[in-house]
């Protein structure tokens, strides 16, 4: 990769309703790793309706130059306007890399942008390493059962980076005495895409966040009737709640408020016991920070085992009844 412009890398910081979502600052740790400890050529992009003040605070705190993009349409996430913004920045700076946090909206924006401008597009990066052949970016495929390792050959890249994959460290802070805040104007073009409102899903109230123990059911339980045995496991713990993988909620076996994962709840209980969950990347992202993870699954290659502290390779519908029977026998 090479770039002659003022900025080598552009990172888009996520906002909703003019508030910065601080997790996306992890992108600076990603850039730090790509450029082996240097973030001097990094420009942060922050979008919103009235965002300038937030940008000033962020610039002072982080020491990075910031492009503030104000537009009424940016009050809610707006990939349509974001593509236009990326186009403007691409024209102006020709950076080597555009990076965004891996969210569904950002994937939409980078793919449309890269298709328009002919950039290589890679989504869901979880690991970076330097190889003899150049920079290698790794992502999950096949639900985490396989990895795709991509050697970067393109001059310019547009990528999304998995949340949590690159941790922000205190000493990563980039100290610069003067930061530069630039206002970027976007054309007021008529677009067919209009965000109208934002709401919490009505079904999201749950006790998952407060539970010390989460017993989570996956498709491996086979049928909704088998949720009873999962509920029976919940009963043998203090302050426990029932969780679920997305397919269990999609099948209407449990309401979506029980869903753990990227589109559901992110949890970190004392114990997370995954029963018949294969462990999609989206699910793992929502529970991997639990203090202790027990996974029961009959597929020895299940991706959930990659984050488990204790691995039980068993058919859940055989093992869980045995587990409960022995618990109750010992209790007597």
């Amino acid at each position: 990769m090479n770039s002659s412009g003022r900025y080598k890398a552009i990172a888009v910081i996520d906002t909703i309703e003019d508030k910065i979502l601080h997790q996306s600052l992890e992108l600076t740790a990603f850039i730090n790793q790509i450029y082996q400890g240097s973030t001097s050529g990094l420009l942060l992009v922050v979008t919103g309706r009235n965002i300038i003040e937030e940008c000033r605070i962020l610039a002072d705190k982080s020491g990075f130059d910031i492009a503030a993009v104000e537009h009424n349409g940016f009050y809610y996430p707006n990939p349509d306007l974001l593509v236009k913004t990326l186009n403007v920045l691409h024209e102006k700076y020709r950076p080597e890399i555009f990076c965004l946090t891996n969210t569904i909206r950002n994937c939409s924006a980078v793919s449309a942008f890269s298709a328009e401008c002919g950039l290589q597009c890679i989504t869901g990066i979880e690991l970076v390493s330097e190889t003899d052949n150049g920079l290698m970016l790794q992502r999950n495929i096949f639900n985490g059962k396989l990895k795709e390792k991509i050697i970067v050959s393109a001059q310019q890249l547009a990528v999304t980076v998995n949340p949590g994959a690159f941790q922000l460290k205190q000493d990563d802070a980039h100290i610069k005495s003067e930061t530069f805040i630039e206002k970027v104007e976007i054309d007021e073009e008529v677009s067919g895409y209009k965000p109208v409102s934002i709401s919490e899903s009505s079904d999201m109230e749950s006790s998952l966040e407060d539970a010390d123990v989460i017993i989570a059911a996956g498709r491996g339980i086979g049928k909704p009737e088998n949720l009873q045995m999962v509920r029976d496991v919940v009963r043998i713990f203090n302050n426990a709640a029932i969780g679920a993988s997305r397919p269990v909620c999609d099948n209407r076996w449990l309401p979506y408020r029980h869903q753990v994962g990227v589109t559901g709840k992110t949890v970190s209980p004392k114990l997370y016991m995954a029963i018949g969950i294969s462990g999609s990347q989206q699910h793992i992202a929502g529970m991997k920070n639990s203090q202790c993870i027990v996974a029961v699954n009959m597929d020895a290659h299940a991706a959930i085992f990659s984050v488990a502290d204790y691995i039980v390779i068993e058919d859940v519908n055989v093992f869980i009844p045995v587990f409960l029977k022995i618990y109750h026998e010992r209790k007597r």
């Binding site: 349509d80 969210t103 569904i104 909206r105 994937c107 939409s108 924006a109 793919s111 449309a112 298709a115 290589q120 597009c121 989504t123 869901g124 999950n140 495929i141 096949f142 639900n143 985490g144 396989l146 990895k147 795709e148 050697i151 050959s153 067919g192 895409y193 209009k194 965000p195 109208v196 934002i198 709401s199 919490e200 899903s201 079904d203 009963r235 043998i236 203090n238 397919p247 909620c249 979506y256 869903q259 990227v262 589109t263 559901g264 004392k270 114990l271 990347q281 027990v294 085992f305 990659s306 984050v307 488990a308 204790y310 691995i311 390779i313 055989v318 045995v322 587990f323 022995i326 618990y327």
Partner: protein
């Protein structure tokens, strides 16, 4: 109303894929292939619209090797009117290549709505749908969990799911592209009459080899995940495993 649904054939994720010796794709023997689950929901959403708006035609399209036509047959059995197979034996295609092939076909056919799944279960990129929309210069919304069509006003209102259970409501002008999240509906099974009707239908075939090179995927290799070095595998009979696990949980003071 004219609707196109983009469908991908994917390897069954539950089976444990082995990597081919060139490390570019998996060994296909002993692997079952089926319709991408996200696309099943996209197809169902299109079928529901077809049932409510009279005169709607619904086409299904896929790009890939010849074996992928089985997902189009499934689409026809479920109620699609026409199927389009873009044959490309070179596999796997990048999402940009797939988007080019599908948008080239769609640009001549004036679709009001193009549906796709939010991602494919094998490549997990979330990119093909938005790329098709970008190449056709039509608006696109991703991750729909509810779609309402006002055909008179040519406006579609979509409830689109963001991370953390937040819903964003978006309006789109027709023509547009919508990617569909799972759980939005309950995909149907083909009816017997649908299966009979589909027997008389054949996908029309387009040769996709015209894309040739120039859009190749970059240099990549598939690999297996590093094995978990931290996790302890509990061994023994089912009873022994249960006892060991209960002891661990007891030691941690978690059990009642």
């Amino acid at each position: 109303m004219k609707i196109l649904v983009c469908i991908k054939q994917v390897p069954d994720i539950e089976s444990n894929p082995e990597i081919r010796c060139d490390s570019l794709w998996i060994k296909e023997d002993n692997i079952a292939f089926r319709m991408n689950r996200y696309d099943e929901y996209a197809l169902e959403e299109a079928l529901l619209i077809k049932e409510t708006i009279p005169g709607t035609t619904l086409d299904v399209i896929t790009a890939g090797p010849e074996r992928a036509s089985s997902v189009l047959i499934k689409g026809l059995e479920k109620g699609a009117d026409n199927a389009v197979m873009i044959i490309c034996e070179r596999y796997p295609l990048s999402s940009y290549e797939t988007a080019l092939l599908i948008s080239n076909y769609a640009s001549d056919n004036n679709y009001d709505i193009i549906f796709a799944g939010v991602m494919s279960e094998d490549a997990m990129q979330c990119t093909t749908g938005p790329m098709i929309a970008s190449l056709l210069s039509i608006p696109c919304v991703v991750s729909s969990v509810k779609t309402s069509v006002d055909y008179e006003e040519k406006i579609i209102t979509v409830e689109s799911e963001l991370e953390g259970g937040i819903i964003e409501t978006v309006t789109l002008s027709i023509p547009c592209l919508i990617t569909v999240q799972t759980g939005i509906n309950q995909p149907r099974y083909p009816s017997l009459s649908g299966k009979m009707r589909a027997k008389g239908l054949k996908p029309s075939v387009i040769d996709g080899e015209y894309l040739k090179s120039g859009f190749n995927k970059s240099d990549y290799k598939l690999g297996y995940p590093d094995s978990n070095v931290n996790g302890v595998t509990i061994t023994g009979t089912s009873e022994e495993k249960a006892v060991k696990l209960l002891e661990i949980l007891h030691e941690r003071g978690l059990l009642l």
